[in-house]
Amino acid sequence: MGLLDKQFTDDNIIITKVEDLLNWARLSSLWQMGFGLACCAIEMMATSASHYDFDRFGVIPRPSPRQSDVIIISGTVTFKMAIRIKRLYEQMPDHKYVISMGSCSNCGGPYWEHGYHVLKGVDRVIPVDVYVPGCPPRPEALLEGLLKLQEKIRNETLVSKTA
């Protein structure tokens, strides 16, 4: 249910639930951590740029995990990087969300068998909310992933975090 449905004809008054208000606020300004790993990061940057314009969903890249709401794991997660990703995730304040972008961070991608250096899916170190398939996914796919995440956040309740 949209937040603005219960608006009075009179201006300036809206009746809603606290939950709906918080969820709406949260999903409308998902600040993204400025963080990229591989070729998926190029697509992520294209998504942020003017043509696809991530900013229209309130997604702004932030330079610090402490200011971020969502981390997009965009690329191949090596063991070396996995340790650092885990630390960055732990440094993010709640509520925090993870989008796993592309085959590599979903399941190891082309490195699944012989990649001695690749973690076979970032969900082995941090919990993932949305998986975006593709190698790399097109910007439209990443936007779809973000919309899915917003859908999840819209259904959160105060007692339990579903996303």
Binding site: F79, K80, A82, I83, C107, G108, W112, E113, Y116, H117, L119, K120, R124, V125
Partner: protein, 176 residues
């Protein structure tokens, strides 16, 4: 400009038994095999000698020849015992427009090769990579640590033909 045969003759006259042979019956370009512990002296000569002027190390790479005896270990994995590991050096002289390839082979159980890092600074990271991937020890290298794998990686040397992935690294499962 000199071809590999001429360079081989020059080196053979200077270093004698250190220079082992010239191999030119392969489909690749011909290469000169050298004793592993004397490669630094040969390389210094190649760089500085008038008429050779190999100022540039184009590439340095390790190779697992996998020519040892293949045996089964206690977990029924095939491992290679004995045989050699090799290092290839691709040199180029930009002034004189000629190239040469050197090869050293060293014992797989205790692979030791003299470092050429002091001769071409480009060799620094190349040798670290060969150490990281094959475990070849470059003697007199000033900072021979892993370059690609984590510094505390204990799972072995990944590009050896008998490499087995460890089950876990720092609590993260390694196999698919």
């Amino acid at each position: 400009m000199k071809n590999p045969e001429e360079i081989f003759e020059i080196l053979k006259a200077k270093f004698n038994e250190v220079i082992i042979e010239l191999i030119s019956d392969k489909p690749t370009e011909s290469f000169i095999t050298v004793a592993p512990l004397e490669i630094d002296k040969v390389c210094l000569y190649l760089r500085d000698k008038e008429g050779l002027n190999f100022k540039s190390l184009m590439n340095l790479s390790g190779v697992d020849d996998a020519n040892g005896e293949k045996i089964k270990d206690e977990n029924d994995n095939e491992i290679i015992q004995g045989g050699t590991l090799s290092v290839f050096y691709h040199l180029e002289s930009i002034d004189l427009k000629h190239k040469v390839t050197l090869k050293v082979s060293t014992d797989r159980e205790n692979p030791e090769v003299a470092s050429v890092e002091e001769i071409w600074r480009a060799a620094d990271w190349h040798e670290r990579e060969a150490y990281d991937m094959f475990g070849i020890k470059f003697l007199n290298h000033h900072n021979l640590i892993r370059i690609l794998m984590p510094y505390d990686w204990e799972g072995g040397y990944p590009l050896r033909k008998d490499y087995q992935n460890p089950e876990f690294y720092k609590g993260m499962k390694v196999p698919y």
